[in-house]
C-alpha cells in the first residue's frame, strides 16, 4: 500500500476525479437548491484538476463537466464559452469537437431557441459525420420533432437522415461505418412504420456483411417484423431457415421459433 502511494498513477488520478465529480453530481441532481458559491467551488475544483492533469484523458471530461454545471444552473453563456474554449483547445479531435458542439446545441435547446440549436446540430452532421455524435444527431433531430408532436417535420427529418446515411454507406461500402449507417436507416424507416423498407435495409446488411460480422440479431429483427408487422409468416419462416442455415448454433433460434409459434 505504501508503494502505491509514492507517485500518482492513473488509478489515483481516477480516484481523485471520482471524488470531485461526486460533489458536482449533487449540484446536477438539484441545481435550483445549490447556492452559487457551491457551484463556483465545484467549477474551481474541476478546473484545477484539469490543469493539474492536463495530459490525462479525464481532464477533458472535467472540462465538459464544468460546462454541464453551468448549463444546469442556467448560466448558458458561460457554458457555451467553456465549450467553445474546449473546441479551440482540442480542435484536432473530432470526437471532442462534435461532443462540444452537441452540448452547445443542447444549451440553445434548453433555452427554447430551437433554430439556433438546429444550426449547431447541422454543423455536427456536416463537419463531423464520422463521429458517434455525427451519426446519432440526424435521428436526435427527428426525435425532437416526435416529442414536440410535429409529425411532418419528424418525417422530413427522418427523410434527410436516411439520405445522409445512404450517402455515407455508399462512400464507405463494406466498412463498419456502412454497417452502422444501414442499421440507422432501418431505425429511421421503423420510426415511420415503413416496415417494407425497414426489412429491405436489414436485408442489405445481411447481404453486404455476410461473413464479416455476426448477423444473428439482424435475422431475428427481420423475423419479428415479418411476423408482427407485415403478418407474412412465409417470409418469417424463410428468414428463420436462413438463420438456421447460416448460424446453426445461434442462441437466437429458440427465441425466433417461439416468436413464430405465437
Amino acid at each position: 500500500m505504501a508503494i502505491c502511494g509514492c507517485s500518482p498513477d492513473q488509478y489515483s488520478v481516477e480516484r481523485e476525479y471520482w471524488k470531485i465529480k461526486k460533489q458536482s453530481e449533487s449540484i446536477l441532481r438539484n441545481p435550483a437548491a445549490t447556492p452559487p458559491n457551491e457551484l463556483e467551488r465545484a467549477v474551481t475544483q474541476l478546473q484545477s484538476f484539469a490543469q493539474k492533469n492536463s495530459k490525462n484523458v479525464l481532464a477533458v471530461d472535467a472540462e465538459f463537466a464544468v460546462a454541464r454545471l453551468y448549463a444546469a444552473k442556467d448560466e448558458f453563456e458561460k457554458a457555451r464559452k467553456q465549450l467553445k474554449g474546449l473546441m479551440a483547445k482540442y480542435n484536432k479531435s473530432d470526437v471532442i469537437s462534435s461532443e462540444a458542439l452537441f452540448l452547445i446545441g443542447n444549451t440553445y435547446q434548453i433555452q427554447g431557441k430551437w433554430e439556433s440549436a438546429l444550426q449547431e446540430y447541422k454543423k455536427i452532421i456536416a463537419d463531423y459525420p464520422l463521429t458517434t455524435r455525427g451519426l446519432e444527431t440526424p435521428i436526435y433531430i427527428a426525435q425532437y420533432y416526435k416529442v414536440k408532436f410535429q409529425p411532418d417535420k419528424m418525417v422530413e427529418a427522418l427523410g434527410e437522415a436516411i439520405g445522409h446515411y445512404r450517402a455515407l454507406a455508399e462512400k464507405y461500402p463494406g466498412s463498419p461505418l456502412a454497417f452502422k449507417a444501414y442499421t440507422m436507416i432501418s431505425s429511421c424507416y421503423s420510426a415511420t412504420k415503413d416496415w417494407e423498407n425497414t426489412v429491405s435495409a436489414l436485408n442489405i446488411i445481411t447481404e453486404q456483411f455476410k461473413g464479416k460480422v455476426s448477423l444473428e440479431a439482424v435475422f431475428l429483427d427481420m423475423i419479428a417484423i415479418y411476423k408482427k408487422e407485415l403478418k407474412d409468416n412465409a417470409k418469417a419462416q424463410e428468414t428463420l431457415d436462413r438463420l438456421i442455415k447460416e448460424y446453426p448454433n445461434s442462441k437466437f433460434i429458440s427465441s425466433a421459433k417461439a416468436l413464430l409459434k405465437k
Binding site: R15, K251, S254
Partner: protein
Amino acid sequence: MAKKKSISIINTYLATFQSLKTQPKLVIPFACFAFVELIFLLLIYVAPRQPFNIVLAPPIRAFWGERFLHYPVNFLLLPKLASHSRNFLSCIIGSLLTGFAVAMVADTYNSKTVHLFSALKNAFRKYLSLFTVVLIINLLFLGLVKVMEMGLIRYFTSGHATLLFLKPVIWLGPILIALNLLLVVLVQGVFVYAIPLLMIENLKLFKAIGRSALLFVKLFLPTLALVGLPVLIYIPIIILQFNAPFLIDRLFPESVLYVCIAAVVINSLVIDLLVTLSTTILFLQNKK
C-alpha cells in the same frame, strides 16, 4: 428422538466452546488462513495500481476486461475475485490447515496435550488426500452452481417469461443466492466428515469420502444444523456484496473492500472455525 438430536447439537456446541476455552491454540489454523486470505484480498485491491498492475492487471484484463482496472469499477469485481481467491486458497492451504485443526481438536477432545508441530506434521503427511477432498468439494459446488445458473438462463432466454409465477430477476437474484447457500450446506455436509476420517481414523481417501457421505445420512439433522447455522451469519455479507453498485454510489467505493474484509473475518474466523470444530467434535462424540 428429536429432543435427543437437539440436545446433541447443543452439547456439541457446548463442547466446541469448551474446547476453544481450554485450547485457544485451536484458532491458529483459522487465523493463519484468514491472514493469507487478507493478503490476497489486498493484492486484488492493489492490482490496478503501479507497480502491481504489471503482473496482476493482464489476467484481469484478459478475463474480465479493461474497465475493471479503473476506479471505482474495480470494486464491482472485488467480491468475485475475493471469492475465487478463497476457493483457490482453500484447496492449496485451507485443506492443510483444516487437517491441522482437526488433529488438534482430536487431541483436545481426548484430553491429550496439543502439540502444534506434530499436528501440522500429521496434516502434511495427508496433504494430498486433504487437498483432493477440498478440491472435489469446490469443483462439485462450482459445477452445480453453474448448472443451476445456466439452466435458469436457458429457460428464460428460450421465451419463458416466468417460472412458478416468478420473474427472472427474482430467480436470478435472491432465489439463486438462497439455492447457492443451500448447495453450500448440502455439499459441505456430505464431505464434512472426510477430513476427520482421514486424520483421526487414517482411512484412505475414497473410503473416507464414502464413509463421510454415510455419516451425513446417519447424522443428517445435526450435520445440517452444524454446517447450516453458521452459514446463516454470512447472509448479510452476501446481501451487501450483491448490492456493491449501491454501496459504491451511496456510500463510497472503498466500502466494498471493507465488506470483503468482514467477509474474510466472518468466513475464516467464525464460520470455518465453528463448522470444522463442531463437526469434528460431533464425529468424535458419535465414534464414542
